[in-house]
Every structure is written in structure tokens, then in C-alpha cells.
């Protein structure tokens, strides 16, 4: 009961916070600094994409980062969630007798569809998780890659969702205006959905990792034989990690579907899975903060380069201007050199397994532990 109240309070606070952030971002659209827009529709779109990448990367961290199982099937889970959710909303909202278009009429449909997508992806994760019991490393990677491709090929052959041409006409998230007080008008649309889901993903993954169950997952990564000898059912926890991670990826897939209003099977090929893996390798395996950072940097890379190219000005030497101008075209080269550089200089990723923590930052010790020798010396 106590727990339920806490959850509701958290959820309420998150919805309000998310609404406010979205409203601020959207109202900034009307302002300009030095003649250029602060935020454009295009920019908002990129922020949404980053948000989806963050959820995918953080959820993948559960399998690849914490449990140490190499999965290449994340795009497949995302596709399952996306298609299932999209099918439900499209057939309900544009079907024979659609509910009324108010907040109360449509919100339950979206929530149900997204959850159903997550559930379907969880089932896919359960099935893909089973090979992880017998396979390790590269072999597991290849099998999960195969599963991901099978999922994509199956979707391509289902005519009801458009087959290889793609699934179009998926209802987008409407803009719900719900909070208005003192001249402030809060809206809740795709950006809010995505922000809210990032918060949920991070809380879920963080709370798992920082618990007895998380230690069991890390134990499997660190030393499977010892984990098993200490009574940890390694088979069960591996499959569990796959299932939860897949459910979160499936939810993210649903958000993606309703953000764009269309899905194309080809966007869920294994290159997509590799991209998500690169994000966590880049940010740091076994760090939620690292996954967030990796997702933001790599999803936004083309935009960062474009922004840098925009810094050209007459006051700079001409060679700098010239090189800045080339940046956007050199995107792929910069991307791969960045990865090579990381592998050479910091193979554990930018953050390694460092985790950002507010209490650490404020110098408070969140856990009552005896001081380590180093702390004592200091």
C-alpha cells in the first residue's frame, strides 16, 4: 500500500515535470537568438530520437552491460513492440467505431497498446534468452542476431501491417492540453511520452541493478561458475535479464511508431542493434549514465557536426572555417575514428562503470558503510 502510494506520487511528479519541460521547450520555439531559432521542429524531433535511443541503450545495458551476455537482437525486440502497439492503436482509433477523441477516450488506448507491445517483446525476449543458457560470447551474438533478422523477415511477410513497404497511417500521439493555471498551458504529447519513459526505464534498470537481483546479474558476468556455486540460478537470471530488457525495448518501439506514424521493417535490421551496442560500448558498459551519454552523443552526432559547421564566421582564420565546413560530410569517418579512439584510449568506455549520483555529488554518503582505508587516510 505504502509502495503503491509512492509509485503514484512518483508518477504524478514525473508527469508534471515532463509536461513542464515539454511546454518550455515548445514555447522556446517562438524565440530567436542572434537571428536563428533556438529550437526548431526539426530539433524537437532529434530530441525525441535521442530519447528513444536512451531508453534502448539503458535497457540493453541490462543484458550486455550487467549480465555480460552479448545480445545483438535489440532492434528485433523494438520492432515487435512497435508493430504490436501500432496495430492495436491503428485498428482501434481508426477502426469501425473509434472512441471519442478526447483525452479520456484515447489515452487508455495508447497506454494499453504500448503495454501490449512491451509484453509481446518480452515474450520474444524470453524465447531469445533461452539460447543464452547454452551459448556464450560470439556464438550467442550470432544467434541473437539471427533471431532479430527472423523477426524482421516475419514482419515483412505480414500483409496486415504493410509487409516490406512499411506500415503507414499509425495514429501519432495527439497533443493533450491538460494543465492550465496562471497563464501557463501544459501539453502532453510525444516528447512527454518519451521523457516519461526515459525516467521509467532508468528507474527500473537502476533499481534492479542496485538490488540483490542486480548483484546476481553482475555475478554472472564476473564469474558464472562462482555465481552458480553461491546458489544463483544463472539460467533463470539470464532469461530474466533478456525478458525485462526486451520489454523495455518493445515499449520504446511503440513510442517510435507513434512518434512517426509509420514503420518500415528495414529500419529494424541488425545495423540498428549494432548502433545501440556501440552507444553502450562508447558510454561505458555497466553504467546507466554512460548509456545515456553514449545515446545522446552518437544519435546526435550528425547534428553536433552541423552545429559546429554553423560556427563558421569571418573572425576565424580561413583554414578553420574551411575544415568546419567539411565536418558534416565527414560524418561516417568521424564516427568510426571516434570509436577507434575510444577503443585505444579508454576501452572501458567514456565512463567505465562510473554512475552519476546526486548524493555522491553533494558529498553525502547514501550508504552507511565503514570508511575504506583510502577515505580514512584523506
Amino acid at each position: 500500500m505504502n509502495t503503491l502510494l509512492r509509485i503514484l506520487a512518483w508518477l504524478g511528479a514525473s508527469i508534471v515535470a515532463v509536461t513542464i519541460v515539454e511546454s518550455i521547450l515548445k514555447s522556446l520555439k517562438n524565440y530567436q537568438i542572434m537571428g536563428s531559432d533556438i529550437i526548431t521542429d526539426y530539433g524537437l524531433n532529434i530530441i525525441c530520437l535521442m530519447g528513444i535511443s536512451i531508453s534502448l541503450a539503458v535497457s540493453l545495458q541490462l543484458i550486455n552491460g550487467y549480465t555480460g551476455q552479448f545480445s545483438l537482437g535489440h532492434a528485433g525486440f523494438m520492432a515487435v513492440g512497435g508493430y504490436v502497439a501500432a496495430f492495436i492503436t491503428k485498428s482501434t482509433l481508426t477502426g469501425a467505431n473509434p472512441p471519442d477523441q478526447s483525452l479520456l477516450g484515447t489515452l487508455p488506448v495508447y497506454i494499453f497498446a504500448l503495454c501490449a507491445g512491451a509484453l509481446a517483446a518480452a515474450i520474444a525476449g524470453l524465447i531469445v534468452g533461452i539460447p543464452s543458457l547454452r551459448l556464450k560470447g560470439d556464438y550467442l551474438a550470432i544467434v541473437t542476431l539471427g533471431f532479430g533478422e527472423i523477426i524482421r523477415l516475419v514482419i515483412e511477410n505480414i500483409e496486415a501491417v504493410g509487409g516490406p513497404r512499411g506500415y503507414i497511417g499509425i495514429p501519432k500521439f495527439p497533443k493533450w492540453t491538460w494543465l492550465s493555471a496562471g497563464g501557463f498551458e501544459g501539453t502532453f504529447s510525444s516528447l512527454s511520452w518519451i521523457f516519461l519513459f526515459i525516467i521509467i526505464t532508468i528507474i527500473v534498470v537502476h533499481n534492479i541493478v542496485e538490488s540483490s537481483f542486480g548483484r546476481s546479474l553482475v555475478a554472472i558476468r564476473d564469474n558464472e561458475i562462482a555465481a552458480e556455486a553461491m546458489g544463483i540460478d544463472t539460467s533463470f537470471y539470464k532469461v530474466l535479464a533478456f525478458t525485462i530488457s526486451a520489454a523495455l525495448a518493445g515499449f520504446a518501439g511503440g513510442l517510435y511508431a507513434h512518434l512517426y506514424g509509420q514503420l518500415v521493417p528495414n529500419t529494424f535490421n541488425f545495423v540498428r542493434s549494432v548502433e545501440i551496442i556501440i552507444m553502450i560500448v562508447f558510454g561505458g558498459m555497466g553504467s546507466i549514465t554512460g548509456a545515456v551519454l553514449g545515446a545522446i552523443i552518437l544519435t546526435g552526432l550528425p547534428e553536433w557536426l552541423r552545429i559546429m559547421a554553423g560556427l563558421r564566421s569571418d573572425s576565424l582564420p580561413s583554414w578553420i572555417n574551411k575544415s568546419l565546413g567539411y565536418l558534416p560530410d565527414l560524418r561516417m569517418i568521424i564516427y568510426s575514428s571516434l570509436l577507434i579512439l575510444i577503443m585505444l584510449v579508454r576501452p572501458q568506455g567514456i565512463l567505465g562503470n562510473y554512475e552519476f549520483s546526486l548524493s555522491k555529488l553533494l558529498g553525502k554518503s547514501s550508504k552507511n558503510l565503514p570508511k575504506t582505508t583510502e577515505e580514512k587516510k584523506a
Binding site: V204, S211, R215, N223, I225, G231, L369, T372
Partner: protein, 256 residues
């Protein structure tokens, strides 16, 4: 032998291809004793531990723990029944701190559910606290509490061995299998370890099976000793009996 054995093997054999690593071994461990299992290098002592804990299933024979047949069960099931072990080649959880290593082994007795963990329920919090308190208490016994927040693999070798015992205790075992716990320890540390094993037996009501090459330790704390060579049992008795057994002397001198 008196009473019901806590652990029994009956004609236990395991073959790796052509090699018979353990050959028709009969063990009978009595509750609360410290039992030594010794033998020359490659005699099959570690393989016996791997059989008992379920890492390997015996090719032939039966293993009974607490009166129940356990051969063929997964290691985690056997561990949950109350058999825990340490490893000859140390197997700590390398990315974790000393404290987390011990807490991880407590997981078999966790009272929180997965949902409790995700929602940080009060059950989760009391359980985490219980894990932490118990683990710190065990670390205290092993003189490791001051390193609780240190990376486990940064400890000196001898301390890592003691940490492995501490971790094994967190599963709340009835039977503890120690594979060369004194390896790499200096004489002073070995003597301390000997007393430690004796005291944890009393405190946690343990039965201990000890594999060890350090004869001072083995002769010092074991009540009974079984000697194996080439996977076969060659002698069983009190330390005095075993020490004077001509077969044992031959096995060691011959092998040495």
C-alpha cells in the same frame, strides 16, 4: 561410524575420456566434523569437490547430501540445500567490492521479490539492510571489514582466500568445502586460518571438508582424514593413523 552421515558418496566414479579422475570413491562425512581430504597433486581432490557441488555429474555412483540424492542437480540447487565451497583458483566477483561479494552470496536467502526491488518497497529495504548487516558481521570475523568498500581483487592473496570463505558462509551452509584455503599464505597466516576454521565451525554449526597441502594445517584441525591417489581412496582414519600408514607414506614419497 556412528549416526547419520551429512554427506555420503557411494562408488562415485568420473571419467574424462580415458582418464578416470575419481575411481569408486566412498566418502562418509559426519555432522560437525572437520574432515581432511588429501592426496598428491592431480589425485582428484578438486574433481571430488566439483562432483559434490554439481559442477560435474558422476559417470557412476550416487552422492547423497542430507539423506537426499543430489548427483545430477544443478550447482545452484545443491548450494541452496546448504553446501557451499571455495575455489582452488580464486573465483571472486572481480568488479564488485569486498562487501558486495559477500552480499551476493546472501541472495539465496533473500526475502525480497523482484517487484519489491523495482519499487523499492519496505521489504526490499529491510532485506538489503539484513544482507548488509550480516555480511559486515561475517567480514568482521574474517578481519576484512575495514576493506568492505575496496575492490575484492585488490586485496592481497591471503585475504582473497579468506574472503572466499566469508562469501561461502553467506549462503548459510551446513557443509563447507574448502579447496586449499592456505595456499599462498605465510606460516603465520596459515595458523590464524586454522583457528578461524575451528571457530566458524562452532559459530555457524558447520561441517567442514578440507582439501589442503599444508600438512601442519591438515594434521592440526582435522578429526579424520581420507587420502586419495589416482582418484582411489588409499587410507582413512585419524591424523595419527593416516600419518603412519605405509601406503600413504609411499604415495607421498613416491609421488614427491
Amino acid at each position: 561410524m556412528s549416526g547419520q552421515a551429512i554427506l555420503e558418496t557411494n562408488n562415485c566414479t568420473i571419467r574424462f575420456g580415458g582418464l578416470t579422475a575419481v575411481n569408486e570413491l566412498n566418502l562418509s562425512i559426519q555432522p560437525n566434523e572437520i574432515f581432511g581430504l588429501i592426496g598428491p597433486n592431480g589425485a582428484g581432490k578438486t574433481t571430488v569437490f566439483n562432483l559434490l557441488t554439481g559442477v560435474y555429474a558422476p559417470t557412476e555412483g550416487v552422492i547423497k547430501f542430507l539423506g537426499q540424492k543430489v548427483d545430477g542437480l544443478k550447482p545452484c540447487k545443491i548450494s541452496a540445500m546448504g553446501m557451499s565451497r571455495t575455489f582452488q583458483n580464486i573465483r571472486l566477483f572481480s568488479s564488485m567490492t569486498v562487501l558486495e561479494n559477500v552480499m551476493t552470496a546472501y541472495h539465496v536467502r533473500t526475502k525480497q521479490s523482484f517487484v519489491d526491488a523495482i519499487f523499492r518497497s519496505s521489504k526490499h529495504q529491510t532485506d538489503e539492510k539484513a544482507q548488509r548487516d550480516f555480511s559486515l558481521e561475517v567480514l568482521e570475523i574474517f578481519n576484512l571489514a575495514q576493506f568492505a568498500n575496496e575492490q575484492a581483487t585488490s586485496l592481497p592473496y591471503g585475504s582473497q582466500r579468506r574472503l572466499e570463505i566469508a562469501r561461502a558462509l553467506a549462503t548459510n551452509p551446513k557443509l563447507l568445502l574448502l579447496d586449499e584455503p592456505a595456499a599462498g599464505m605465510n606460516p603465520q597466516e596459515s595458523v590464524e586460518l586454522m583457528h578461524l576454521i575451528g571457530s566458524i565451525r562452532e559459530r555457524f554449526k558447520l561441517t567442514v571438508v578440507l582439501v589442503e597441502h599444508n600438512m601442519k594445517v591438515v594434521m592440526g584441525i582435522c578429526e579424520r582424514i581420507q587420502v586419495i591417489e589416482y582418484g582411489k581412496s588409499i587410507s582413512l582414519g585419524t591424523p595419527q593413523e593416516v600419518k603412519n600408514d605405509p601406503k600413504v607414506i609411499e604415495a607421498y614419497l613416491g609421488a614427491g
